[in-house]
């Protein structure tokens, strides 16, 4: 975990509310693993005060990519940055996705909803290198919410899409697409990131179908490295649950440890 106050935005791409930055930072990029994240300073002023957590979308030895959506003041300021601008980043943070050598030759699904697709590109690459047969399911409200579809295709990854309004791919939630695909071929593992209701539903499917599943959780964070205890989630320990930190103990947890909240 390194603070690089002068990482440089080498490339920026925008699709409506969605943005991708490639950030040059050899010191942070080096050891990053799929599922880990960065804390990004969006302004050098005190308002907004806190850094914003961003999944690592891709990396090479010199640089990292983040993919984000404007959801408020912080991400809006971040989106205004330009190629060549310096960015103060902290990372890589948290524990990433986990798999062992037995994944070689196995069939796995990566399920992403909306901006939750962010960590799954990096993961797909690494899982493929580990010999897994990767299929990506990418869901959004509408076609403009699937800006990364082409990127996955270009990387030669098997990808199927869903839109709630039917403007592209399967019509309906990505969880319904998942259920349909599982009925055809059950995967050895699921790796999931998306909105809470989508992850909860995926968790239910995984539990019912007895498929090991890992979820990358999203939370507002104070610090990102375990000092503030602000980003907790109820995690099972034995019969009970305790508040565990998403930033330090996660952000990736396995489906059987997560106690999903009731909605509303």
């Amino acid at each position: 975990m390194i603070k690089d106050p002068s990482a440089r935005i080498a490339y920026k791409q925008a699709w409506g509310d969605y943005f991708l930055f490639r950030i040059e930072s050899p010191s942070v990029a080096g050891g990053a693993k799929p599922g880990q994240f960065l804390m990004v300073r969006v302004s050098d002023r005190v308002d907004p005060l806190l850094r914003r957590p961003m999944s690592i979308h891709a990396r090479d030895s010199n640089s990292l990519e983040i993919f984000f959506q404007i959801v408020g003041q912080g991400t809006s300021l971040l989106a205004q940055k330009k190629e060549g601008d310096e960015l103060d980043i902290l990372g890589p943070l948290g524990k990433g996705f986990d798999w062992d050598a037995a994944i070689n030759g196995k069939f796995v699904y990566l399920v992403g909803g909306g901006r939750g697709i962010a960590p799954l590109y990096f993961l797909a690459q690494e899982l493929r290198t580990a010999g897994a047969r990767v299929k990506v399911l990418y869901g959004g409200k509408s076609l403009p919410d699937l800006p990364l579809k082409k990127k996955f295709e270009k990387a030669g990854l098997d990808i199927a899409c869903s839109t709630n309004d039917g403007t592209f791919g399967f019509r309906g939630f990505v969880t319904a697409l998942l259920q349909k695909d599982i009925n055809k071929q059950s995967p050895a593992a699921l790796f999931v990131c998306g909105p809470d209701p989508m992850m909860k539903k995926t968790g239910e499917i995984a539990a019912r179908e007895k498929i090991p599943a890992q979820f990358s959780l999203e939370s507002m964070m104070g610090c990102g490295f375990g000092a503030c205890w602000g980003c907790v989630k109820r995690i099972r320990t034995g019969d009970n649950g305790t508040w565990r930190k998403i930033c330090e103990d996660g952000p990736v947890f396995s489906g059987d440890e997560i106690i999903w909240e009731k909605e509303g």
């Binding site: 975990m1 390194i2 603070k3 300073r41 005190v46 308002d47 907004p48 005060l49 806190l50 850094r51 902290l90 939370s219 507002m220 964070m221 104070g222 610090c223 490295f225 375990g226 000092a227 503030c228 205890w229 602000g230 980003c231 907790v232 989630k233 305790t242 508040w243």
Partner: protein, 303 residues
Amino acid sequence: MVDLSVDLGFLKLRNPVLAASGTFGYGLEFEPFLDLNAIGGIVVKGLYFGPREGNPPPRLVETPSGLINAIGLQGVGVEQFAKETLPRLRKYQTAIFVNVCGASDEEYVKVIDYLNDQKGVSAFELNISCPNVKKNGFCPALDPRSTLSLVKLAKQASRLPIIAKLSPNVTDIVEIAKAAEEGGADGISLINTILAMAVDIETQRPKLANIFGGLSGPAIKPIALRMVYQVASAVKIPVIGMGGIMTGADALEFLIVGAKAVEVGTANFVDPASTLRIVREIEGFCRTKGHDNIADLIGTLKL
């Protein structure tokens, strides 16, 4: 060479910058970011006797230039702290203050009793001012009588100096500070967070599960400074100032109004090396202004 050391009477610090409780974990979390020996001290996260669960999320909400938290003092308890953390903190020369919590008078004493015998603790900061553990932000530091009696009790139990950490959520901060002094406190630290709330207009629900939380960050600095000035002018024991300090300049304001040292809190989340940066900024200011000794600046407000 600027002499940054300050004397709290009961303890000499290498410089006046401490990390504030609740924002610096148990200290070790910050090893990757700075040399812990280079700061004046660390006030570790509040400890109850046993582990504590804390409040349900959402626990944080960001507000203009500020942060409202309602963590509820989730933590490991004294035993785990003494066994796992303290041995690793001992290798540092930095002063370690333990922020002492209790759900009852007895629990404060139990925590102090346990830690009295542990090597490596320089002082206790008595947390009588957390707004997030009782209904409506209630805490002992809201009342001069309970402040006095709790400080007295802690002082009797303790072999180490006691610093009473005060709440800003009172009508007259000086009255509370004097009560802490009368109770035998060796020092006073202030301010804890300001009781606050935020509402989601879409759902019409509070943004924090706890409804209320404590506001910190630059938004509260002017209030903190005013209170530190009032208290430092009214008591004889040393005062440690805090509230929204982000820079060396912020810290210097507190020293000029009479704080002997400062604690840096929320800034640690934004820039984990804030404490060290602030030490350097204070040093830079002294060098530029020709002050050989930071102590010469303390309490020099000109009226």
